[in-house]
Symmetry: C2
Subunit: 124 residues, 2 copies
């Protein structure tokens, strides 16, 4: 059975909070086996757990705040706009991508594709 | 050569304005030959010009206002959040989907996929 919109929204919220303030294991627990990650869209797709672990391991040690801004669910997919603020010393780096995900019947993430470009990175 | 982010953003803006206030021909002029439309995601993909013409023909006669809220460009793709307000008699129906598009070298649309669900339709 397809996941409910509520289950998909819960996974999206958990994902943004895990990326911002959780461990790599917290993030990976939200993915289904065999899930793929393309971030940003147009770069090589990460297809193995080791690649996902390496990717999310880069952001896990950073001090970050995350906020889901808008979620749109369609069938077993979602697109969502979220803000990730990284705090380093006195500087704040803000990135608010639009991510697209697909989900399995348990609302685990089967694919993630992130839409953003260099011009979307804001510091201040 | 891949389209520039600026060219992609211009097509997105023109698309939202054409859907809101233009003719079917205005909308179709922004698509490349062979373009596909899946709206919402999970429904059958429209693959012919006749199908695209029929689809956009349903919204063309409506009195609408459109506004682009957020655009994120990645390579030859974009995801964008926009608002479409339909005015019928004294009622306003508002839908603000997140669309994902791919573009050819001339920044013509080669595919469109719209993320929204019944719960995103707001009237008032």
């Amino acid at each position: 059975m397809a996941p409910t919109p509520e289950a998909i929204r819960a996974t999206v919220e958990a994902y943004v909070q895990a990326v911002a303030g959780g461990t790599v294991d917290d993030v990976l627990a939200l993915f289904a086996p065999g899930a793929t990650v393309e971030d940003p869209v147009g770069t090589p797709v990460r297809t193995t757990e080791a690649e996902l672990r390496e990717f999310y391991g880069m952001v896990a040690p950073l001090k970050q705040e995350g906020e889901v801004l808008t979620v749109r669910v369609a069938g077993d997919s979602a697109a969502f706009h979220f803000r990730l603020v990284t705090i380093m010393d006195d500087q704040r780096f803000e990135l608010s991508p639009i991510d697209v995900m697909t989900f399995d019947d348990d609302a685990k993430i089967t694919s993630m594709r992130a839409y953003w470009g260099p011009e979307d990175m804001v510091s201040g």
